[in-house]
Symmetry: C2
Subunit: 357 residues, 2 copies
Amino acid sequence: MALARLRLIRTPGIGPVTYRQLLSRFGDPERALEAVPMLARRGGGTAPAIADIGAVRREQEQVARYGASYLFVDDAGYPPLLAELDNAPVALIVRGDVGLARRTVAAMVGARNASAAACRFARTLALSLGDEGVVVASGLARGVDTAAHVGAMASGTIAVIAGGIDVVFPPENAELQERIAREGLLIAEQPPGIEPRARHFPFRNRIIAGLALGTVVVEAAPKSGSLITARLAAELGREVMAVPGSPLDPRAQGCNLLIREGATLVQSAADILEQLRPIDPSAVRAPGASFDPAPPIDASDQDRRAVLALLGPVPVAVDELIRQSSLAPAAVQTVLLELELAGRLERHAGGRASLIG
Amino acid sequence: MALARLRLIRTPGIGPVTYRQLLSRFGDPERALEAVPMLARRGGGTAPAIADIGAVRREQEQVARYGASYLFVDDAGYPPLLAELDNAPVALIVRGDVGLARRTVAAMVGARNASAAACRFARTLALSLGDEGVVVASGLARGVDTAAHVGAMASGTIAVIAGGIDVVFPPENAELQERIAREGLLIAEQPPGIEPRARHFPFRNRIIAGLALGTVVVEAAPKSGSLITARLAAELGREVMAVPGSPLDPRAQGCNLLIREGATLVQSAADILEQLRPIDPSAVRAPGASFDPAPPIDASDQDRRAVLALLGPVPVAVDELIRQSSLAPAAVQTVLLELELAGRLERHAGGRASLIG
């Protein structure tokens, strides 16, 4: 099972959304894997090169060697809040106590070049949140992230890294990363050996925001990764909180901007708890709920033509395609899946899709 | 006319609300003055001691000697936004350009012991607001108030003082106060010679908030007069804005608290202008509108008994009295006026009233 899941998600062109579609359509990853070539053909393209079984086995061996394990989006132990995301990472690679991600999690992020005062403040906040039973998640970057992890170390902290589980970044955090793997929870989405690159950070940020009921920003420049994490949290309907600063302090600009945009101004752990507590845990979707039986409907050529006619280079909402085509939702999803596997469709944020080329 | 108005408002027990009621009932101040003893008798008490004509004449002479003049709430030149208040001061004593109060006014208030950086920031903000044609009102206190007046001096500033028009406070602002009287607008509510006391400051603050479309707070302690001004502004439905600061800076606590309570975080004159501009000037009530003809209805003994039965030591809304008594609004108002002049009724914020004793 794990092998088939991993081969699916390591196949180029099969992202989290397609993975979920395939599993929803075929019930199990092995049948999905077998169906990919046929679906791609129906979508009018050539089948993607399924991930090599040998390469995937070698990845599994590496993960085991690093003392890590996989957590699949359809596993019961998968972080429940993260499973809420449409594009929840299919295979997390984790070291440490996965139970931490099932407790109340607050994300705390901020500037890498934060002031000493801000770092001390972040550490104290994290410590106080820990005292109240809140697990603090961050990105193991320099500055505020490091301070947040250090402050929350005794009570429980989750570090999400942009590269592979075995790759240390930044170098000076080697010891902290190892300590979190042993005493907290270390999470990577990239396979082992992958060095973190600029494009990996937004994916890392979405995991941080997705794990948490709310995200707190401590010192951030207006165009920083921290603000991206905050905006992702807002898009997910999670709480966004920011610690204010003087307009005369350039490092406060991002936080002040967030507050102007509607983030809650927070000055203490009590302020943060006040924002986290009102959320009803029953409102959180159980993991795997997105795999509820959707009757596997085959699409007809007529369906394919109808959906294709509605698609173009401008992303359009799948809901809109269903409405305008008057087809069964499952039929529309099938056509989109075929087109995607054929390399002709691109998925976008907010459940939208566009034709390629 | 001015003499009768002044005698009315200088009579103990006749506040702004009663004054308006009397004028609305009798059309002119002389007839109102004559009617006071009769109304008080009907209210079941002794008539208040009408202000001595000689004392009021001496006050008028003093005001003239200081180069000041009166601005009555029913004068056409009265500041239109201030006239909106239920308890708008009846007689302002002013020096300088009363036209300033008819332009777009922003109030700027803050800590007397503000940091040098905050004072510099307030001065720059006021200067930039002035450049955009906004008149800056403040309270001529030390610190932020002084900085706001200085910054806005060239473009137009209004200082509202807690004592009499001739009383300088704080002493080091003597020159600034005189300069505002000559180049801006200086406003006092208390008669000449009155030294500012603690109880005068909330009245001064309500005038500052009342003159302005919005109030900006720059550095304020959590229980400061600046926060009172901000809350008065909020009660009046005006914009409340605050400049944030670090949670580590005690002088930022009041502003951060205001922002948590819903005030708009502002960092620049542009942020302030954005809040001031959306207000539709046509939504502002013309001065004197509250003196629109209300048919002078005499109350019967039955009416008096009905209203008295509904009153008690707990403040109740006048609207509620009207609803529950099923009497004509004017009749209820008449009974309340009589009771008040008889010293048996106290008026409260939000159009409420209670029996005394």
